[in-house]
Structures are given as C-alpha cells and as structure tokens.
C-alpha cells in the first residue's frame, strides 16, 4: 500500500463503502508522507480527508476522491478533491456551523475539516452534487 503510489499523477479512489473511507485515509497518508508533511500536518490532513470522505459516502451517496501531490514553487503540498453527485447542500452557511448535523453525527465534520487544512473550497447547489477541494501545504 505504501509503495507503488505514483506521485506525478492524481490518485483516484472511489468511495462506496466504509472500507473505501479507510482506503482514502491510507492513500492520503501515503501521499502526505511522500510530500514530507510534518507528523501533525499528516494527522490533520488525514483526519480532514476521513471526515470529507465519510460525508461523500453518507450524504453524497458515494463519489470519488482524487489525491494529488502539488507544489506552488515555494513548498510542496497535497490537494484532495471530493466529488459526489448527491443532493448537494442547500444552506452552506448552516452546514458549516459547528454542531449542525442532519445525520446524527457530532456536526463537526465539515466545519472541523475546514479548520484542519490551509485551503478549503466548496462548490455545491441543491441537486447539483458537491465538490470540495482541500489543500495542505508543508511548512
């Protein structure tokens, strides 16, 4: 699992079950180690990926995750895209509020994941699915 990941191209993983969430976590950890993120940042980005991949599964009805090693010229980083074609999010501001949940969780996944990474971009509309892009830079 840790070997054989080609960093030069995006690594895709479909998310259709709980086991896939574990696979996403392992893939993200592998790439995060390869781009030399610190242990704390590795843990943060893996945890954020775990939250968002589970959201993709639970609320989006499954989707895909794409992990890419990136470099902005000054430092390396890791970019992860979570895409689903589920119902989308109607009220984004509400969804990003701490403690708000429609699924019986703690309501911290989306808002917490945003705090765990450096860049967080979300594109969603009712009926249009959801696409979240996060990036964590090495420091």
């Amino acid at each position: 699992m840790t070997s054989g990941v080609d960093l030069s191209r995006p690594q895709a993983q479909t998310v259709g079950s709980d086991e896939d969430v574990v696979r996403v976590r392992q893939l993200v950890r592998t790439v995060a180690v390869a781009v030399k993120l610190s242990l704390v940042d590795q843990t943060k980005v893996v945890t954020a990926a775990s939250e968002l991949a589970r959201n993709t599964l639970v609320y989006g009805g499954g989707g895909t995750v794409e992990v890419t090693a990136v470099d902005n010229g000054r430092r390396p980083g890791i970019t992860i895209v979570f895409a689903d074609s589920g119902p989308g999010i109607a009220d984004l501001e509400l969804a990003l509020t701490d403690g708000y949940t429609t699924g019986g969780g703690l309501g911290l996944g989306l808002s917490g994941a945003r705090r765990l990474v450096d860049d967080f971009d979300i594109q969603t509309a009712p009926g249009q699915g959801t696409r979240i892009t996060i990036t964590k830079w090495s420091r």
């Binding site: 709980d18 574990v22 976590r25 950890r29 242990l39 704390v40 590795q42 843990t43 943060k44 893996v46 945890t47 775990s50 939250e51 589970r54 701490d98 969780g105 703690l106 911290l108 996944g109 808002s111 917490g112 994941a113 705090r115 765990l116």
Partner: protein, 286 residues
Amino acid sequence: MALSTDESGRLADLLTSRVDRVIQRWTEVVGEQLRGRLSQAELLRQVQELHRALVDALGKGAVDLAAEEATELRAVLAELSRGQARQGFSATETATGVFALKDALLSAMEDDQSTRTLRDYVAFAAMVDQMGLFTFESYVHTREGLIADQAEQLLELSTPVVKLWEGVVAVPLVGTLDSARAQVVMERLLQTLVDTGSPYAIIDITGVPAVDTQVAQHILKTVVAARLMGADCIISGIRPQIAQTIVALGIEFGDIATKASLADALRHVLRLTGVESGRRQSRREA
C-alpha cells in the same frame, strides 16, 4: 464452446489409450511449476484423480464442464483448488495444474498426423480452458472466504478487555475504529465491567491512527454507557498530533479525564482509589 459428441469420445479415447504418456507429461509440467512444494506422490495422486474424473465425465457423454455429467469433475476441481488455496499456492500455480493438461494432450497427439488433429486439439484445449477458469473461480472463492474469516477473527482479536489492577479494566484500541468494531468494544467493555465489578475503565487509543468525529463519537458513547453503569472512564494514549487535531476539529471531551499515556491513566486511577476510596464506598452505601 462445447465439444461435439465425436470430439468428446475421441478425447476420452486419447486420454485412456495414452494414459501413461498423458499423466507423465502432466505431472512433469506441474512439478516444474511447483518446484517441489508438493511431493511427487501427492502430485501424481492429484493428476490421476483429475484424469479419472475427466475420463468419467467424457465417458458419460459430457460435452462441456457445465454439463450434468460433469458434476463429479467439477467437484474434484473445486476440491483441488480449495486445497491449494488453503495451502497458500498462488492462483497461477493452481490453474497451471489444469492448464498443464494441454501440454500433455499435445505430447500425446504428436504422433497422430491425420488432418483432424489440429481441430481436435483446439476443441480439447477449449475444454481445458473451461476447467482452468473453473479452478480459478473456486480458488478466488476460497480465498475470499479465508479473508472474510480472518477479518472476523481480527475483529475479535483486536478488542481485548484486560484487567490492569483490582477494579481497573483497560481496552487498548488498535487500528481503525469503525462502527462495527466500536459496537464490539462497547459490548465487551460493558460486559467486563459487570463481570469484574470494576469502577474504573481506561480506553487507550495509542494504536488508533486518526481520531475523527466518528471515532470520537463512538468513544464518547462508550464512556456515557459505562457511566450509566456506574463506572468512570479515562481516555489515554492521546498523542500530540492527535490532541492538536482534536482541538482543530472542535471535539470536546467535556469532563472526561484524558491522559497522554496508559501509565498516567493508571496512576490517576490509583490516586483516586487511594485517596477517595473511603468516600466512594460511603457514597455507594448511601
């Protein structure tokens, strides 16, 4: 692609009339592939059994592997691949055991120079292919079964509840804490609390690689359930990177005691029991 009745009969003839040659070449090819991982006697026995089952099936008029007459042949193939899958042979090695029959057939047919030979060989080879694919499927099926068994065993294995001290039990969590495992952990812990009458439980998460909101929620539920039964829970094994991640996520453990290491947690409990044992007892009596 099924054999014609004629072809089926000719294949049976070939296999019986050249039995020595076929079996000799067959064992040779398989033996080469397995390089001594199976004893010569065992190998010969397997090849003879397959040979016999195939001849039987053809003799009864089977024209392909799916035929009613080939039931026993299928059973022999399935048994063979099950055995090899369990013994750790690779899929290639297992399938080669069947595909080697092609070599054996070719060697048995070499002397026959009639024009029919090529057509026959192609038809026979198609039959062998069917047998090979069937072997492969049985192999995969067996391996999947083994993996499912192991996953279940792992689930059992990885959630021990250990008694650390008089009145103190601990659950060292290792690996991914998904809903299924969280359920097993909670059941085991609560049952152990009842069985041992322990007032303290330590949940150690040193071996959990990432604590996300789902894991946290499972742990919190376990703690609340233990509290309902009158036991205090301490969460230990919170490493620096996990602590920082939990803070950033915004998870609050409230008034649940948390410690960096299992040793700290045990010390904490012993201090509580040592200093407050009188008070706890009087509270219980009241």
